[in-house]
Symmetry: C2
Subunit: 338 residues, 2 copies
DNA sequence: TTGTATGCGTTATCAG
DNA sequence: CTGATAACGCATACAA
């Protein structure tokens, strides 16, 4: 490995001069500087990250932590983060799994963005106590060194429930996420608030886990209990799609007998038929905002918690009860109901 | 930041004793060792990654480089890599974009797995020359420090073309990937070989770019030129799905007028209707094999290039010409043709 | 068994 | 403008 020492030797100068030249300091003659640069290039010199990080006490790297790599939500999110990080001189690395948690306390990264169930909140608070800067996307955590950028889960779930109710549905199933999920808990809170205001809406909970398979399970139960048109609010799209998929091989029609609404607007949602009604938000913006907040936090600037707004997007998986009945005799005006 | 120096001071021993104790060396009394460990825990000591990396000249981190984060192929691939890396004491980080290339030469990572168009082959060869260990998944590169783990593109494309021909199709469109793509080039080679053996099959190329939108473009052209049933081999699933999507809003039926086959078997492929016929392979295995090869390479063990085998998976997007015509009068036996 | 001393490759503070 | 030199936090050969 070629180090500044090698360059110094070859150039006949001291290592500090080399360091200055390499870092573009104006404390060195243009002449010697260009000579040094030339030699550096000739020798294929590349600075050693570990040494620089050790000395400067910062790595200029931001880490994102994901529960797993398999989610469909992450693409745009990461793209947004990377864009912001890169323009601010930071590199972004993506990590997953308990093993990788050490990157933060060991100071391999300067800050972390968390969307990762495998991080306990106590663990995060501990790191924050030791001065590490963190942005959380999947929980509420109050600490000087922690900033939250959260989805407006409550608004989304409210929109979804109200939409089903407005279509005339009076019986609604809600398929939840896994127990520990912050998003699931938040969305359920909103569901309860809405239903409390609507006494003549009958609703029941089916426990899911945000995976497609639990949507299928839910479908089985709903098929068994079916008597008349019902609404189903799946707390994420994956489950909604699993549910629609199972329903496709049954007698019941989505958007006619079973009115399905999801959450997240993942890409797949626009490829199921009829198109899934779901709660949409900009994943890209979520990512870039998270990165911006983290960078401010690391720079010592004051930051306030942020919220990502959501809206309902249409499809044929939910139809109005009143309008629908006559339509069936005319033909199938699937999709593009909105 | 608490360092071994702080621990040494508090324990009344030298830093080397602390270092030994922390690293579980048996060169130190159980008594002092446990005392040191206790103090370390009390002080929330965490080793500094940069210092360790600098000293040991290895980071125990493997980097994967992706062209972008948005692909649907990556989930299982990364999961496979992570599993192997973690069991071997390595951490895995995912990087994307030119900025992050530096991680390799700057020795932030011990080795790299490449699935990234933004890496020029010359760049990789240069790094390999300087002793960096690399596994490439997206090109052929011969070097002592580079190992290839490639898809059997040729077999896959051959299977796909032969399948279309066997169904009685005599006119076949092939929608390619972008110009620089290794996979696209390899698949096209196989296409040419097959068609050379089949003189009475008429075939034509449509240039695509592996994105859904180019599948839609291809669909437009095919619709315009349509006279009788044709086969379409899209060199990846994304384009095939874009194509099917566009076709859905036309008069032409997939699996009847237009017989579509893709490549990759991404998750979406099983959600389009009719299910896409495509070339399948284990992304998980691809990832784990790549990681295994890299770890061997880093350990100085001899490794040979590896190949990931592929197979055709069924769906309703391609049907037999002879069998099909009578079936139409009976009803729609969509999907599950295989 | 423990301590001393050195160096990994940088940056940065001083003198000159 | 340039050169010694001292850290950064850790691992380890060698001494005691």
């Amino acid at each position: 490995m070629v180090s500044i020492k090698d360059i110094a030797k070859k150039a006949g100068v001291s290592i500090s001069t080399v360091s200055y030249a390499l870092n573009g300091s104006n404390k060195v003659t243009d002449e010697t500087s260009s000579k040094i640069l030339a030699i550096a290039k000739e020798l294929n010199y590349v600075p050693n990250a570990a040494a620089r990080t050790l000395k400067k006490r910062e790595s200029k790297i931001v880490g994102v932590f994901l529960t797993d790599f398999s989610g469909d939500v992450y693409g745009d999110l990461l793209t947004g983060m990377k864009a912001v990080c890169n323009t601010q001189g930071y590199d972004l690395i993506v990590c997953s799994g308990r093993q990788s948690h050490r990157m933060l306390p060991e100071r391999m990264i300067d800050g972390a963005i968390i969307l990762d169930q495998t991080f306990a909140s106590e663990e995060l608070l501990q790191y924050a106590d030791r001065g590490h800067k963190i942005v959380v996307l999947d929980r509420e955590l109050d600490h000087m060194n922690i900033n939250q950028v959260l989805l407006d889960n409550k608004a989304g779930a409210t929109l979804a429930m109200e939409h089903l109710i407005e279509q005339g549905l009076t019986k609604i199933y809600v398929v939840t996420g896994p127990e520990g999920s912050f998003d699931s808990v938040q969305r359920m809170k909103a569901v309860r608030q809405v239903t409390e205001r609507e006494p003549n809406v009958e609703w029941m909970v089916i426990t899911g886990d945000f995976e497609k398979s639990s949507g299928e399970m839910a479908a089985n139960q709903i098929i068994q209990e079916y008597t008349s048109p019902v609404g189903v609010f799946c707390l994420n799209d994956e489950m909604a799609i699993g549910l629609c998929n199972r329903l496709a091989s049954s007698e019941l029609q989505v958007g006619q007998d079973i009115h399905v609404i999801g959450f997240d607007n993942i890409e797949l949602s626009s490829y199921v038929s009829p198109r899934l009604v779901t709660v949409d938000y900009s994943k890209r913006k979520w990512g870039s905002l998270a990165a911006e907040q983290l960078i401010k936090l690391m720079a010592g600037e004051p930051v306030e918690h942020e919220r990502i707004y959501v809206k309902l997007v249409g499809g044929g998986s939910v139809r109005n009860q009143a309008e629908y009945t006559p339509v069936i005799t005319v033909g199938d005006n699937s999709a593009a109901y909105y």
